[in-house]
Amino acid sequence: MTGGAPQVSVVIPVHDAGALLADALASVARQGMPELEVLVIDDGSHDAPERWVESSRLPVRLIRQENGGPSAARNVGIAACRGRYVAFLDADDIWPRRALAGLRARIDADGGADVVQGHVRRFRAAGAHEVAWPFTIVGPPRLGFNVGSALFRREVFNRIGPFDETMRTGEDVDIWVKVREAGLRHAVLADTTLLYRRGNGGIIERLAPPDRSAEHLRRWATILHGSLARRRRAGAP
């Protein structure tokens, strides 16, 4: 990093991700971007994530908090970061090589864009907490809701507010609804910018499929209710 403020801040919330955090940090290091600020927000882990932070080749700021969920951790990162742009990477996901550079080039080139988003590919590693490559790509690239596929101008969060800390799932859908609601300019890259890990026993994955669908999609009604309420308060339903 040069002496001035970093151009891009990377916020990584982590809660008991084990060695997967090392994979995530390694993927950040592979981005080939020197002007990065990396913040790992330890969301009340019990598995000493500092050992993976210390073994990475990155200058990482490790911030600890009581467990408050991914939204609370990302918000701590947003408040602490200094970059012109903010990217989020969950501790169990991976960025493809130079994904961030592609996002950065696009948002720089498109001066009006508030957020640039790429595509997501799901993957499964060979086993639980398996750090070795190769892994299995599942399904086609999709333009999904994962905030880890996007690069945001930092001031976006002044306009739409922070992540909703009452949500432990669906908070990413909520952010995109707020981006839309605020009329922000959202550009899209055809490239894959996030590898989204499946099968590691996350909150949603602990539910059996029918309940998983119901729980996740019911959350949409809550999110849209919030959007309607905000618009009604503003006199524009």
Binding site: R124, V138, H216, L224, H225
Partner: protein, 149 residues
């Protein structure tokens, strides 16, 4: 036109819904349309959740709101017809299976009856149809044939 003897099944293959602060929010996860039911519309939705036939729904609403049955029948018919047109409910000769979940709460008995309104929103459709089950399944959308509840 819905017959008095017909029942209304929530189209669980397409519709996710919940009740927040008395407002029923319904989301068609296939086309990205979403809907809001408040006031008498939420009350009629509560009657649908209870598994009433259309005739029974009208009879209940007439008594609940203390209003002329013909007024209620006309309003409820328009309301249900609109729900069917948007594939939110499916008419059936058979009662829906009991699911044990009743979320909507009718307005207080004696509340003046107002024509039920379905607020319909389409401006998020491209966003909501991006990948609705990104947290849910490896293969992503579509995920047909699985009940959402």
């Amino acid at each position: 036109m819905i017959a008095d003897t017909e029942y209304l099944h929530i189209n669980r293959a397409k519709i996710a819904h919940d009740v927040i602060d008395g407002e029923v929010v319904l989301v068609n996860v296939v086309n990205g349309f979403y809907f809001s039911l408040r006031g008498s519309a939420a009350s009629l939705w509560a009657a649908i959740e209870e598994g009433r036939s259309f005739g029974d729904l009208c009879e209940w609403a007439s008594a609940h709101y203390a209003v002329d049955p013909r007024v209620v029948a006309d309003a409820a018919s328009s309301f249900v017809t609109a729900l069917v047109a948007d594939e939110i409910v499916i008419p059936s000769a058979d009662p829906p299976p009991a699911d044990g979940e009743r979320r909507a709460v009718p307005e207080a008995a004696g509340t003046p009856f107002a024509t039920p309104v379905i607020e319909r929103f389409t401006e998020m459709m491209d966003l909501l149809t991006l990948d609705p089950i990104h947290e849910v399944d490896d293969l992503g959308w579509p995920h047909r044939g699985v009940s959402l509840e």
